[in-house]
Symmetry: C3
Subunit: 465 residues, 3 copies
């Protein structure tokens, strides 16, 4: 069976529309990739070691892949999920290949086929029958110099690649990349969950550690805030331009200082109620906005995921094993305390994401189409897909316009999927623009200009890159 990578993939069937989409896509296809939000590892690029094997490259780090396998009865133990080094990567690969039909109709399939064909020259659909051939060919190539992390970064035409990092991270690998003289922009992102979310494991210890690292007394509210400021400054000095906040809800608060200080003491004591913990996270979003107004870091708010929904999986395999499930999310009331304080600041940029698509047209586009401080992140996580991206454009554009959006995020741990993901986003955006042109809702010259905006300009402006 031949691979399904057709040059016109993801373009609308109508010939006139397809022709315009193709032309638009040609104009942005080879632009550099700006990846302002993701979960690759700086260490890969600092050390530049070969990726170990196909299973550890395509299965182990990709919860999109193994959650689908698990949903159909494949054991996570058989996939060696959680192992640092796989004992039997070929066996894991064979299980994956045998179940490849499960990914029909999913974006995962688009990303994988792209990587197999474009990076490894494989031109037959993966199946049980060719699993070993695939394994051997990929394994061999991974050890060639042009498949080392730095070579791939260049081959992918990456211009910026942001990682996501704890305030406690030493950023030593980011430093090592800089010290190496390699000309690449791999930037940290300040993700303070471990020290702002009282439900995060080791919260109090992390705050103490933050105090040590910054030479501040983090047992009190002011010292704690000061330590966060210093940590942000350290990130900035390594090129960081953005923070990221993955709270369960979008709740914000704006307490008087004395109340905030008391609340901090409560959560630090470990005796806070669930409501107090939520209120503290809410307050910290407003504090982070205040600091952003000072230091210029762009804020990203990613709410609405119920983390570790599956208790048994969490107990056995830990965080981030694909058992996070979205929940309905309110923005209109939740963001009001923060917005009433800082929403009218044109020099602040807060990028909102959602897992609840019903909020695109109801809350997010109206909010971003009004408040100067707000921008809309692209369709995220489960919605980072052809249908999901198209829904985002269809639901948000008419109220928020294009200019309150910020281009594409790949948000991935799977480094090799980055070009495929950006390619899908560029194609879907061009398909959307082509539809507007062919229905005479947008002039053709504007569509070409917008294709550039959606691919590189908006993301650079929004993330201050």
């Amino acid at each position: 069976m031949p691979m399904p990578l057709h040059q016109d993939r993801l373009f609308p069937a109508d010939q006139e529309t397809r022709k315009i989409a193709r032309a638009l896509y040609s104009s942005v296809r080879h632009l550099p990739i700006i990846s302002p939000h993701g979960h690759t590892q700086a260490a890969w690029f600092a050390l530049n070691h070969p990726f170990p094997n196909p299973a550890q490259l395509f299965v182990s780090p990709d919860h999109y892949v193994y959650r689908m396998l698990y949903s159909q009865g494949v054991s996570l133990d058989d996939l060696e999920i959680g192992a640092v080094e796989l004992k039997n990567p070929r066996k894991v690969w064979r299980i994956f290949a045998t179940h490849y039909h499960l990914f029909r109709g999913t974006p995962t399939r688009l990303w994988l086929d792209y990587a197999f064909q474009e990076l490894f020259g494989l031109n037959e659909r993966l199946s049980a029958g060719n699993a070993d051939d695939y394994y051997d060919i990929i394994s061999e190539k991974l050890n060639q110099p042009e498949y080392l992390p730095r070579a791939l970064y260049e081959r992918f035409r990456l211009e910026v690649l942001a990682t996501t990092d704890s305030p406690l991270d030493t950023l030593e690998y980011h430093q090592a990349i800089r010290d190496s003289g390699w000309n690449a922009r791999i930037l940290p992102t300040f993700r303070p969950d471990p020290v702002v979310d009282p439900e995060y494991a080791g919260f109090a210890e992390s705050i103490a550690q933050l105090g040590q690292a910054t030479q501040e007394d983090t047992s009190g509210w002011r010292g704690y805030l000061q330590a966060l400021r210093i940590a942000r400054q350290r990130f900035k000095s390594m090129g960081c331009t953005a923070t990221d906040h993955g709270h369960p809800t979008a709740q914000t608060a704006n307490l008087p200082e004395s109340e905030a200080a008391q609340l901090f003491a409560r959560v630090l004591s470990g005796n806070a109620t669930s409501d107090e913990q939520e209120n503290f996270r809410a307050q910290m979003l407003t504090e982070m906005a205040r600091m952003s107004l000072d230091d210029g870091l762009v804020m990203q708010i990613h709410p609405g995921s119920v983390r570790n929904h599956n208790k048994k999986i969490y107990q056995r395999y830990g965080r981030d094993v694909g058992a996070d499930i979205p929940r309905a999310t309110n923005y209109v009331d939740a963001l009001r305390p923060l917005l009433n304080q800082f929403g009218n600041e044109p020099s602040l940029t807060i990028i909102l994401f959602t897992l609840d698509e019903s909020t695109y047209s109801r809350e997010l586009a109206p909010l971003a189409g009004h408040y100067p401080a707000l921008r809309l992140g692209p369709s995220w996580w489960f919605h980072d897909s052809p249908e999901g991206m198209m829904r985002f454009r269809e639901h948000a554009t008419e109220t928020a316009g294009f200019y309150n959006t910020v281009g594409f995020n790949d948000d991935t741990r799977a480094f090799l999927s980055i070009p495929a993901r950006h390619d899908v986003a560029r194609r879907v955006d061009c398909a959307f623009l082509a539809k507007l042109v062919v229905e005479h809702r947008l002039d053709e010259d504007e569509a070409f200009d917008l294709a550039q905006e959606l691919t590189t300009r908006l993301v650079k402006n929004a993330y201050r890159l």
Copy 2:
């Protein structure tokens, strides 16, 4: 006016896409019908009497039909809703025919036109002008041998037809069908609402009756559970493979045994609060899952309908007269108690339905794309329509894939609409697959394979048929 049944109906306009949709549809058009969930009467097939008249066949049993008429001011009394035998069926038919334009753009119209043309050879659109001709032609045919229920079952190429039955039902008609030697699979479905929902009229009496039927002491928790087990076994012995649970919400609970026993005593006493009643239903979903793990019956959960929303209609005409209205439904928190207990069991199958389409991409696809025990039922009730089915595929497929879905349910009381409904589902699925093919998101050979999956294989596997 000629009838609108065009051979290419429901296929996309684009010629290339339409060509692929047509080819896919040809490959599944004549496959047998598997109907794993519906509300036809076993008695029809046991007795094999002629259907009485067009009004009682097309208007009286179909709340889609008379709710639309009622919404536009037609009196339910004039339609003789609630009557066992119609006094003036021709008058009812004329009212229906005169208002036939109200169904423009609705799936009801597609189903009716199909039955009129394909089963009765009528080739003019129904109207006030031809109402009597219609009535006479249909009436005459209904008395011919090839229009008797069993003949129609065979003509419809039904392979399985599931009914929906109370645990108190004797299943005598199912037994009679078996005893008759007629070679058809008409299977009961175990729907325990009368004995698990404390708000169901006659709840305590029904539980007492269940005790008598099973020779168990249902005044206590253990005897009650044992009686349910015995009743399920009786259904299984008549071919039943599934249970069905129509709760107002998706709430589940997982109480310690002593608490559950106390709660049972409370609800049985008739003194329970509304919250206790809800909690009992929640606990019973978990108990049903536990029993399913033992006896292999597939669970169907159909939540989110506010029953008998219209008090006057309920008081005058009783349950199920079209006055049920959907409500926003939470799955992510509600199902957690059950899923934490049984969600990781690959040998358990729980099929989730919804009336809240915003949950497709937000909650249901992520849940079914992770938990081995979960599958997604098709678009249901008001959403069992061309647009509704397409939205289901577009919103659920990218995260849950095709293999976490279970084919089509017709869910109908209107026996003559069954072929039409399955035909619509097959056409819409083929239209969706054709779009994926023409946009190069799926290979053509895979689309042909999936057409088979969506039509017969997934439903047989999921329902263990």
Copy 3:
């Protein structure tokens, strides 16, 4: 750059579908405009003065325009928002023109281009470069007789234009129009928010004023209700056929008279809690329905907007400055008290609107497809756009049918956008109907009939015009 007004704009790309859409549109294109809900000023037509200048015509009254500019950092002060007369209208116009690219892909752009080209003969896209030309050409024309308000009313082929008015309004301008002998139907709409919403500024004073105007003692419940009845009668005598209710939620209540009277005393005292205020608004919807049953005024319920979300903007610029944001809205429980009382009355008409599109298929279409008193208003406010209108048809039609809908509302303060808005609505409806025809879901003759229904007949029937 030429203007984008193409004769086939908003029609689907597929040639066969486009051909049908074009034919349908030709049949309704020149029908008169019925505008049953909007916010133009009767004074314009009573006085018939020239509109002052381009900025006050296109920027100042249109919160769609200045909210987008504000969201991208333009100062509302620079736009002179809130000024009765602009000090520097040319400067405001230049700011607007310079930012015209922000409206790409929005309905605002469609409306503006239409007005520029069709009314002012401008055939170059607005930009910084031609801002002054635009300004000069429009200014000049505004002073010509054919651009006076009455001339435009006739040129727009308006048959009915409804305004929105407080019960305290003298309706003197409506009277003046009548007295002038000019043959136009400009009708008031009874919008009682100032005297039924306890949170409205000056609530108690307004009720006292209502008492004076009607010679009733509005300090008690019965006198208050009687005063409202008299005020409605006064509106009716000026041609009013409808009321409009813009509550934060859709909550209704049906209290016994003594409780309602006590609640009225509470809210009038100014000491009511937030819940009591909400409950009073809820009760008043039911009271309004009761009065409508008596006097025949059609009720419009527009819930779900959080008013004045942006505190600073509200404090500085007052109400209705574009800082209203939608919130998730429940109808199924909220409307039940009212519907249980009056929902089955075929002689009552209640038109429901929403800002929460997830309710179209989940709640609104099922409610309107059952209750004789209910109809669905068109897609509203942020959803009054090509994608929004199409979603409304796709989500509501299959369950509610076409006949439970009421045509189009332009709902605008921007008089010059009225023809453009109705043109967009007609085009989108024809595109939707054409899709149904080409997919053989509707016969072509029916589509032509429905095009008439959706354009003029349904709106006239529903609003009793």
